[in-house]
Symmetry: C2
Subunit: 176 residues, 2 copies
């Protein structure tokens, strides 16, 4: 089955990409990627997500100053700043899981298009200041992550290639 | 691009399946599905997940009694009981997101194999009793969800078909 093999390959080949070349990515492509997030599951289909799509260099710079990975945020063609929309949400644990599913769909969509991205969680340490940039009240929107996305700088990737590893399946499953 | 189209179709066609026929699913298939979870991203690659794979009817029955959706848990060929492994974890919000990504990979893998599943979050109301079934200390493992999986009862699906909907993309994204 093609769908099956493609999915498994896609999931296994996806990895964090931190080196981008500057090349435009169309708004249509950006929307197709976010469309995959939109179909993520959520408790009672509450869809508690919001995305600020940042392409403007000045806004990127403001974001970049709030993270140790500012260089990546700056050099990405676009940064997706992803929030939990608290008013739309159901229960906190379920909502945060739903955002995880939303983020993963987006990362897989990016991989399927041959583009690169990295999920930046470290910026959560400055989450209130991120809200300020977008004038979003912190009691209504909670920063979940930034995804920096761009066209992959292939020579740099090969240079920085590290072995990706995961714990053996036997270590994480038990049969009953 | 095939990978791209297949992924988007897979993500959009996936939906909750609550009616199963009784038909064996091999352990190899079950492991291939969980393998997709295993490659989910997590903060510092901490992989804070654990799965109890339940096929034994007595254990299913004990689980079923803790949920309003016990009929689904009983009739599924297998139930994946998914925990956050707190000792392995990084920060709580990031860990719960990672579990969301782990769950979504598993749901997509199930869809890619033509099998059906539903993500049951309601059982979290009895999460401590679920830990007791598996003798897992609550300070080390926190229930995240149960995924009930089986061979789809196609005639029932058509009968119960509801229109799936999502909010328009324009409602959830803003460009900067």
């Amino acid at each position: 089955m093609d769908a099956e093999n493609n999915l498994i390959e896609l999931i296994k080949s996806r990895k964090s990409i931190r080196n981008f070349i500057y090349e435009k990515i169309s708004n249509d492509t950006i929307k197709e990627i976010l469309e995959c997030g939109r179909w993520a599951p959520s408790a009672n289909n509450c869809q508690p997500w919001k995305v600020c799509v940042v392409v403007h260099p000045t806004v990127k710079r403001m974001l970049a100053e709030l993270s140790n990975y500012g260089g990546i945020i700056d050099s990405a063609y676009v940064d997706f700043v992803i929030f939990l929309d608290i008013d739309k949400g159901s229960e906190r644990v379920k909502d945060i899981q739903a955002l995880g599913a939303f983020i993963q769909n987006i990362l897989l969509a990016i991989e399927s298009k041959g583009l690169g991205a990295v999920w930046i969680g470290e910026i959560l340490k400055n989450k209130d200041q991120v809200n300020e940039i977008f004038k979003l009240p912190t009691e209504k929107f909670e920063l979940m992550c930034v995804i920096a996305m761009g066209v992959i700088d292939e020579p740099m990737i090969e240079k920085n290639e590290k072995e990706r590893n995961r714990n053996p399946l036997e270590d994480i499953i038990d049969f009953y």
